[in-house]
């Protein structure tokens, strides 16, 4: 089997799953549908591993392998093939998406069991995996755009999966609208690239664009800005971040898969994929760094004050993606992709753990009503703890290595970007402190402390689930538990992929002309050595520990008193998510609604009557033509004969 074949299998297997479930319809039992769905993703994961092995055994892997299924459209020199592009970057994403995707599929079997719409859910999940693979494997601008749109659609369908809940529908709509802004931006960006060089496939684009667009020119900045707009919306970064917390209305496996592990990191992937373009504009790089830095800090503060367990994790996701953006901005693509992978492990772990808790407590998500769960769910507690330690960046968990690599590169970036980059490093450190705080706030509030009435109820097996008592009071069902355990294992050992001074697998793997692990300028920066990495570790590890200790003082032992009394203003601001929603409501939503109202008024008074007039006129013209069609064959013959005469006369006229 060639590398192309294995990549195509990986790509198409989830689609086959969708089709089987779609056409099987009611004939498939829930069990079979679940099996088909999981099996298709497992096949995909297996093929992804095969692709990885093939890639490593290629003699001289150059830029990447473009595999064209067929040429979709040709017109003159303009050619859009239907192609996938296999290079270290896409294989890396392929592994993460299918691997984590498979675990979450298995988890969903338990989580969604009993839902009457179970088949639909599994089909949507498969559709999402397929869409995400379209995005990461796309071999040209056009199909990147297709994938970009498809994941948005899958996300919309899954957020609004429980379409009888108005909040879920509203959240789905919000996610769709915010993402639509990003979609338009990235579409315009890709069109601009296309206009510059008239090619769509990656290799020509990457080789021709630097020749066509001057470095640091306004045009380069414009293209990067538009592409960045798409990335910001998809990855929920400032200022297009408001949809992500609301998206938590979707089922928890969806939050874990789409809104933590894979889709929200598409922005990071896009920057890494299109990095030859971003390399052309210093200003765009700076913008990415600043926005990423601000987001990671702001999201950390908000996470401290939120009370919904999933929203806390959602803000944490936003914050972690902020780190990835900073890394991608300074050109440390290897570090960004490394953190993307480890983050996928531990954040999916946290979400799924939270899902077990929510599931157990009868869909309760308010952490204020929780406490003392450790007694009933010791294993889940341990896994959640592992996830939180990895998130906080404690040695030797995965987050420790990946996050600190980013911080080290940020430190090194000061050389390239000037002293203000050290401020971003400061942001990163502060963010690390926050991470420890909010991460362990969850641990302490949910699992430690005194038993809340709800948890006590759970202990007695009296939680009402879909209207009847479940009699559950122990750990989660097995199908839900094992995927979480595997993720826990990955969160522990995943960091070993890159150990400072010894080896750096992501960096080496992503080495290739078009998947450069670090930007050239950064590579030559004075500090880019394992030494500085170790130095950064030495600073950030104590800070993370400090964060955890702080969390213990505030929420564990209560020695410091509650945040509410000490920083009431910060608490309130955090609960309102710093007022972004109400600000957008005032600045965009209300005016646009007013605009819409006046537009409707305008339409009712002017447009509709005018259109009706036009329609009447059109119908009149049509009626006149129809009236000529009087059914009399003599008349038709005359008309036809006159038409022939007209053609002859026209010949005479044109020629004579």
């Amino acid at each position: 089997m060639s590398i192309e074949a294995s990549a195509w299998i990986a790509y198409l297997a989830p689609l086959a799953g969708v089709l089987i479930i779609l056409f099987g319809g009611m004939k498939l039992s829930h069990k079979v549908a679940g099996l088909v769905s999981c099996a298709s993703v497992l096949i995909s994961f297996g093929a992804a591993i095969a692709t990885l092995l093939k890639w490593n055994s290629l003699d001289e892997p150059e830029h990447g392998v473009a595999s064209v299924a067929w040429t979709w459209l040709t017109s003159g020199t303009f050619r859009i093939p239907f192609e996938i592009f296999i290079d270290p970057l896409s294989i890396w994403m392929l592994m993460v998406v299918t691997g984590v995707g498979f675990l979450i599929h298995v988890y969903s079997l338990g989580y969604m069991a009993g839902d009457p719409q179970f088949r639909r859910f599994m089909a949507y999940l498969n559709l999402f995996i397929f869409s995400m693979l379209t995005l990461v494997l796309a071999g040209n601008l056009a199909f990147l755009l297709v994938g970009w749109g498809l994941v948005g659609m899958a996300s919309y369908l899954l957020i609004g999966f429980w379409h009888d809940r108005p909040t879920a529908v509203a959240a789905a709509k919000k996610a769709f609208i915010v993402n639509a802004i990003g979609d338009v931006a990235i579409m315009l960006g890709l069109f601009l690239i296309f206009m510059e060089i008239g090619q769509v496939s990656w290799i020509p684009v990457f080789e021709l664009l630097p020749l066509a667009v001057e470095e640091n020119s306004g045009r380069a900045f414009m293209i990067c800005l538009l592409l960045l707009g798409g990335a910001l919306a998809k990855s929920a970064q400032l200022p297009l971040h408001t949809w992500l917390p609301d998206a938590m209305e979707g089922p928890t496996p969806v939050s874990a898969l789409i809104h933590a592990a894979t889709m929200v990191t598409a922005g990071v992937y896009a920057i890494a994929r299109l990095h030859p373009i971003f390399d052309l504009s210093m200003d765009a790089q700076k913008l990415i760094i600043v926005l990423g830095g601000l987001t990671l800090l702001m999201a950390g503060f908000i996470a401290l004050a939120q009370t919904d367990i999933k929203r806390v994790i959602a803000y944490s996701t936003m914050s972690q993606i902020g780190y990835m953006f900073v890394a991608a901005g300074i050109g440390a693509y290897g570090a960004a992709m490394f953190h993307l992978a480890t983050h996928a492990f531990f954040k999916a772990l946290l979400f799924l753990g939270a899902g077990i808790v929510i599931h157990a407590l009868g869909d309760e998500q308010d952490i204020r009503k929780m406490g003392g769960l450790k007694k009933y769910m010791p294993k889940t507690y341990k896994l959640f703890l592992v996830g939180s330690l990895a998130l906080a960046g404690i040695f030797p968990f995965a987050g420790f290595f990946s996050k600190d690599e980013i911080l080290a590169f940020t430190l090194a970036a000061g050389d390239v970007y000037g002293t203000w980059a050290y401020v971003i490093y400061g942001f990163g450190l502060l963010g690390a402190l926050m991470t420890g705080l909010y991460g362990f706030r969850l641990v302490f509030l949910v699992f430690h402390g005194t038993e809340s009435p709800l948890v006590a109820q759970y202990g007695r097996g009296e939680i009402l689930h879909h209207g009847h008592a479940t009699n559950e009071h122990g750990e989660a069902p097995r199908s839900m538990f094992w995927p979480v355990a595997v993720l826990g294992l990955l969160a522990v050992v995943g960091g070993a992929l890159a150990i400072p001074g010894l080896w750096n697998v992501p960096h080496d793997f992503l080495h290739g002309a078009h998947a450069a692990p670090t930007r050239e300028a950064l590579e030559h920066a004075e500090f880019s050595t394992p030494a500085i990495w170790l130095f950064a570790l030495a600073i950030s590890l104590p800070i993370a520990v400090l964060g955890i200790l702080g969390a213990w003082m505030i929420w564990g032992s209560g020695k410091l008193g509650s945040l509410r009394t000490r920083f009431p203003r910060m608490e309130r601001a955090g609960q309102n998510a710093w007022g972004w929603d109400s600000m957008y409501d005032k600045v965009f939503s209300r005016p646009s609604q007013a605009l819409a109202t006046s537009a409707v008024a305008f339409e009712d008074t002017i447009t509709v009557p005018a259109l009706e007039e036009a329609e009447f006129a059109g119908r009149d013209a049509g009626a006149n033509i129809a009236r000529l069609q009087n059914g009399v064959v003599r008349f038709y013959a005359l008309g036809t004969a006159l038409a022939f005469l007209a053609v002859v006369v026209a010949f005479i006229w044109v020629e004579g």
Binding site: W70, T77, A626, F644
Partner: protein, 530 residues
């Protein structure tokens, strides 16, 4: 002793297969028993499938000048043959059990086969003689097919009108042929193309030939017959007629204009553009006011002929490949739309109006997904006919207009685009009725009253019969319409071959491919840098 001539039978094998099939089916289908009916359907399908397989096998084989220059069997001919055969197969499927009572299944199927035979010969003709024989063979078959529902006065009327006006146009075509012969001394298209005669006779002849062929493709202002004939004929016949005739008509029009009258293109291109404008305007305006579905589709087919003519206008650039793609797409989506009309007619037992569509898009009590899915097929086909992006119709229209623009007829593309906007007025109405209106028996009945008296009452379907094969065809054709959007380039390549057929024999598509493929990056890079 007269020597045995060298004859390349393979060049006309599709015609031979269908002709023999037609004779067998005529005899087998004579009885009125159940087995006669089944056998005639089976034999017809088998004949068409055999033809299909043969044409596919020999697709890229060009046999020029067979039968003393009468036959030019090449990709263009084979493309036309394939479309005719597929339309024929779909018509057989749509008519299944349609004439269970009148015992005319033998005639129906045999005439369908002779029509396919005639179209096939028409498409493969290399001379005006075989062209005319093919034309008459399929035209006469169609006249009878239209009138085959002899107990329905609308059907008789349709056949008679088609016969009279068709006879007129055949005479005009023949007259044009005679003038061309007078000018050049030959019937052979290639010889006519090579002759340096640019006399007045040639122009007059070309004008009349163009007129006669424009009649067959249903372009305005020779469109008078279309609405009445389409409306009156049985729907499977209409579906066959509106797709196969149009497709081979366009291919032959391209062949005649380019191969025989290529040197005069500066004269005929503006006239074809004029026909296109007339068709787009009259077709779209006429369709707007229609209540009757088949009549609406008839006007819409006039408009579609206008768009397709844009491909001929752009013949010297990218028009021909776009035309071939558009013809295939047009066949799929038009057959799909007619298939749903058949579904509907069978259900309600009379001709269908817009009001009959109301509420049929939803699966509800008593209406399973098997009812709703074909309706969705109609939606897909309507969107494609209107040229809405994700469907193949968009790419086909885009290609056609692009060809016109490339050849310097940007204003024609503007007219086409405006026409498409107007066409939304009736294509979207289909969707409005299907999904946004409640079914209302009184309204449907009131609309049916407005039908021409002949179309109501006596009808060939008994109400309530629903066949999986018909619904399945409606869904499958809609699926084909969607699928075609994924492979435009494959068909464009075929269209490229067809263009090479027209331009000069022996020339092929390779130079076009070379232009399209991205050159080595290293070579193109400096160009981009400048």
């Amino acid at each position: 002793m007269i020597p045995k001539p060298e004859l390349d039978w393979f060049a006309i094998l599709p015609e031979l297969i269908t002709a023999v099939g037609a004779m067998v089916v005529l005899l087998v289908g004579m009885g009125r028993k159940q087995w006669n009916r089944v056998a005639s359907i089976a034999l017809t399908s088998a004949t068409l499938i055999a033809t299909f397989v043969f044409v596919l096998m020999e697709f890229n084989v060009s046999r020029y000048g067979a039968f003393a220059g009468l036959i030019d069997s090449d990709e263009l001919a084979n493309a036309g043959r394939l479309i005719a055969v597929i339309s024929g197969l779909v018509a057989v499927g749509l008519a299944v059990r349609g004439r269970a009572n009148d015992g005319r299944h033998g005639e129906f199927h045999a005439l369908l086969l002779t029509a396919v035979c005639g179209m096939s010969l028409f498409a493969a003709s290399g001379s005006f003689v075989s062209l005319f024989i093919g034309l008459e063979l399929f035209s006469i078959s169609l006249y009878v097919l239209c009138a085959l529902d002899a107990d329905r006065s609308a059907s008789l009327e349709s056949g008679l009108k088609y016969l009279i006006i068709g006879g007129l146009s055949s005479a005009v075509l023949l007259y044009g042929t005679a003038l061309v012969y007078g000018a050049t001394g030959s019937f052979d298209l290639a010889v006519i193309g090579d002759s340096d005669s640019r006399g007045i006779l040639l122009f007059a002849g070309a004008a009349l030939v163009l007129g006669g062929l424009a009649f067959k493709i249903g372009a305005a202002p020779m469109h008078w017959w279309t609405p009445d004939v389409y409306e009156g004929a049985g729907t499977p016949v209409t579906a066959f007629m509106s797709t196969a005739t149009k497709a081979v008509g366009f291919l032959v029009l391209a062949r005649v204009l380019v191969t025989a009258f290529g040197a005069e293109s500066s004269t005929w291109v503006p006239i074809v553009a004029g026909l296109a404008v007339a068709s787009i305007v009259i077709g779209n305006a006429g369709a707007l006011g229609q209540l009757h579905l088949k009549r609406m589709l008839a006007y819409s087919s006039i408009a579609q002929a206008g768009y397709l003519l844009c491909g001929i206008v752009g013949w010297d650039t990218t028009g021909i490949p776009a035309l071939v793609y558009a013809l295939i797409v047009y066949t799929a989506m038009t057959l799909g739309a007619f298939a749903y009309v058949v579904v509907l007619e069978r259900e309600i037992g009379r001709d269908a109006t817009f009001a009959d569509l109301a509420g049929r898009g939803w699966a509800s009590e008593g209406r399973s997904i098997g009812h709703a899915l074909p309706a969705f097929g109609l939606v897909v086909c309507s969107l494609s006919l209107a040229g809405i992006p994700p469907t193949a119709g968009f790419f086909s229209k885009f290609g056609l207009f692009d060809g016109a623009v490339e050849s310097g007829y940007a204003w024609l593309a503007v007219v086409g685009a405006l026409g498409s906007v107007v066409s939304l007025g009736y294509y979207l109405r289909v969707i409005v009725e299907l999904y946004m209106r409640e079914p209302n028996a009184a309204r449907a009945a009131a609309a049916a009253v407005n039908l021409p008296a002949a179309s109501t009452g006596d009808h060939r379907w008994s109400a309530g019969t629903q066949l999986p094969v018909v619904s399945g065809l409606a869904v499958a054709l809609a699926g084909a319409t969607l699928l075609l959007a994924f492979v435009p380039n494959k068909v464009f390549e075929l269209g490229c071959d067809v263009k090479a057929n027209l331009a000069q024999r022996g020339d092929d598509c390779t130079n076009v491919d070379a232009a399209a493929a991205p050159g080595p990056v290293a070579q193109t890079a400096p160009a981009a840098a400048e």
